[in-house]
């Protein structure tokens, strides 16, 4: 079956710096792909190429079997690829419903379309319904986002990305800023996205998180793909070895070195 996303031989340089070198990536339907690598390995660059922030120097992207070119994040979002940023792109002074509908507010027309006013009630209702569907617990969608905990904010950010028919959600370090007890909730939420027919690419430094939720793990090192392993067939040690290069960059992971 055709994978949801196929990135082929993606290369990207910034001046003399080769950020990505002939990288392939596939993401299947209802799959969670863990994308790991050291700082500067090219994870974020690869995702920025996918979401249209950067244009690849070489290589092609296929989405649902179609060759696509995303010139901006708007293009990729319209296609159904959402990115949840590490710095949580939420406005703390707005309430939850306001954030979920930020930039896509629902309106009611008055005077034959002359005036458009925000439809507060419908936004609150639909936001609550969305969060309920994702089993995200909040007291009320009227709460300001700044009053929420880090995990709740992350959940709202994910909910926001889900609210608009995303088929792929790219999560950049979703657990990095969270208290320990909140990590589990966000991971559960990540896993549950599959039930909503959403595929996930998870960028994380936290190996135990990646192993808990991913179906497959892809490793980048110095802009090259050095591993692509089913989670069931690998171990944390193998992956760490690949990340650090202790295995000389082969695709065959060997146990016990880290």
């Amino acid at each position: 079956m055709e994978p949801l996303i196929r990135m082929e031989k993606i290369s990207k340089s910034f001046g003399p710096v080769r950020a990505l070198c002939q990288v392939d990536l596939t993401l299947n339907r209802r799959e969670i792909l863990g994308l790991v690598g050291d700082n500067g390995a090219g994870k974020s660059t690869l995702m920025k190429v996918l979401t249209g922030v950067h244009q690849p120097d070489e290589g092609e992207i296929y989405f649902k079997g179609q060759r696509v070119r995303f010139n901006s994040p708007y293009d990729s979002r319209n296609a159904g690829i959402e990115m949840v940023y590490q710095d949580l792109a939420l406005a703390g002074n707005l309430h939850i419903a306001g954030n979920i509908f930020l930039g896509r507010e629902l309106t009611k027309k008055y005077l034959g379309g002359l005036i458009r006013f925000l439809d507060h009630k419908r936004m609150a209702r639909e936001a609550a319904r969305l969060l309920e569907r994702l089993k995200i617990e909040v007291q009320s969608v009227d709460l300001k986002v700044e009053t929420l905990s880090g995990g709740q904010r992350q959940a709202v950010a994910v909910g926001r990305s889900m609210g608009f028919n995303a088929t792929v959600v790219v999560m950049d370090e979703p657990t990095a800023a969270l208290a320990v007890r909140e990590v589990a909730k966000v991971l559960d939420l990540t896993k549950s996205l599959k039930e909503h027919d959403v595929s996930v690419i998870l960028i994380s430094h936290r190996m135990q998180d990646v192993f808990e939720v991913s179906d497959r793990i892809m490793v980048l090192r110095q802009g090259e793909k050095v591993g692509d392993l089913a989670r069931s067939q690998t171990t944390m040690d193998d992956v760490v070895a690949l990340i650090t290069g202790a295995q000389g960059g082969t695709l065959q992971a060997v146990r016990g070195v880290a």
């Binding site: 406005a91 707005l94 930039g103 507010e105 458009r116 006013f117 309920e132 909040v138 009320s140 700044e146």
Partner: protein
């Protein structure tokens, strides 16, 4: 689990906490306390119709400037040029009515036809007023738009810079145009906005009771901008830009458009303030509104808006304007020196900003 019932009961439960009550009604409470105090200290005069009418007229200019300032501060910006834009707009209005009047009077004297209306006639006065008001508003809106462009197109580091520049430019232009001298005499229809009274009813003694038209203008603008900020897309986006500009961009909001609109509206409101001030003083004078931008900023901050952007309401700003107006008025009534009034207002600004600091600290924990 966030059942619909939980969603509905939760905010109600929050409303009972003392902190939330204070945050919501704190400034209103302060205003009521202030008014009660003044009513007690100046029992024979403070609550009279004359005095309250007087305060309404005097605060109308600051009310409009503050409303514009609120929009800008909500986006985490600042507009130092509102007083200068008001003066420029005011001079343009006064000067254009005079110029047009003289031009028409000369034409009328030459033409000698009976079909032309007399230069002193109401028709001509209404036309003069209309043209002058349009011109004044255009000047204000355009100056505001330039402020916006300075932030969005030139990408000057902070709106402080571009509006400081505009302050000087508008002041200079005002003096250049007027030669530094005031222009007195404004057509009656135009004066009505600042000086007129809408007569409501007659008392038994035959005295008319009315509302200053300036107050009605202010209230109308406050209602319109309350709707703008709470009910429209642009209003919501104004809060979003102030709350987290990155998030706003990421959400696909055209941040530059929001900023341009906000600064343009702020300039436009300064022009409306100019109309009221011109009416009240029956003139245009180049030194109008010197330091008025600081009063506007003060009222917005006293009204509970955050200097960091994203927080502040139209109602809060209205109360902030009233608090400043009543403090000035009350201390006048009590024969307290003008210098002490400034000290008092300064202290209140700092107190209001400190409340915001406490609130942010509380929100973080």
């Amino acid at each position: 689990m966030s059942t619909p019932t939980a969603a509905r009961t939760a905010p109600r439960a929050r409303r009972f906490s003392a902190g939330a009550v204070l945050e919501r009604f704190g400034i209103a409470l302060a205003l009521v306390l202030l008014m009660t105090m003044l009513a007690i200290l100046s029992p024979e005069y403070f609550l009279t119709r004359e005095n309250l009418t007087n305060v309404a007229r005097q605060t109308s200019v600051n009310a409009l400037l503050s409303l514009g300032q609120l929009l800008v501060i909500l986006t985490a910006g600042i507009d130092l040029s509102v007083g200068a834009i008001m003066a420029l707009s005011m001079i343009m209005m006064a000067l254009s009515t005079h110029a047009l009047y003289h031009w028409y009077a000369a034409y009328y004297a030459q033409a000698m036809t009976a079909s032309l209306p007399d230069p002193q006639s109401t028709v001509i006065m209404v036309i003069l007023s209309g043209v002058a008001i349009l011109l004044g508003l255009t000047v204000g809106l355009f100056a505001g738009l330039l402020n916006g462009w300075g932030t969005t197109k030139l990408r000057l580091p902070h709106p402080f810079i571009v509006t400081l520049g505009m302050l000087n430019i508008a002041r200079g232009a005002t003096d250049l145009i007027s030669g530094g001298a005031p222009i007195t005499g404004i057509p009656q229809p135009m004066r009505a906005f600042g000086a007129g009274t809408l007569q409501l009813f007659q008392t038994a003694e035959g005295q008319w009771v009315g509302i200053p038209i300036a107050l009605l203008v202010v209230l109308a603008f406050y209602v319109v901008f309350w709707l703008f900020l709470t009910q429209t897309l642009m209003g919501r986006h104004t809060y979003a830009v102030g709350g987290n500009i990155q998030a706003a961009r990421y959400a696909g909001i055209n941040v530059n458009r929001v900023l341009n609109v906000v600064y343009t509206l702020c300039g436009g409101l300064a022009a409306v303030a100019a109309l009221l001030l011109a009416g009240r003083t029956n003139s245009g004078y180049p030194k109008a509104g010197v330091g008025a931008e600081l009063d506007a900023i003060a009222a917005v901050i006293i009204g509970g808006a955050s200097f960091f952007g994203g927080r502040g309401t139209v109602i809060g700003t209205f109360i902030g304007v009233l608090i400043m107006g009543f403090i000035r008025n009350g201390l006048n009534l009590l024969n307290v020196s003008v210098f002490w009034q400034e000290v008092a207002i300064g202290a209140i600004i700092i107190a209001a900003a400190y409340v915001d600091v406490l609130r942010r600290r509380a929100a973080r924990t």
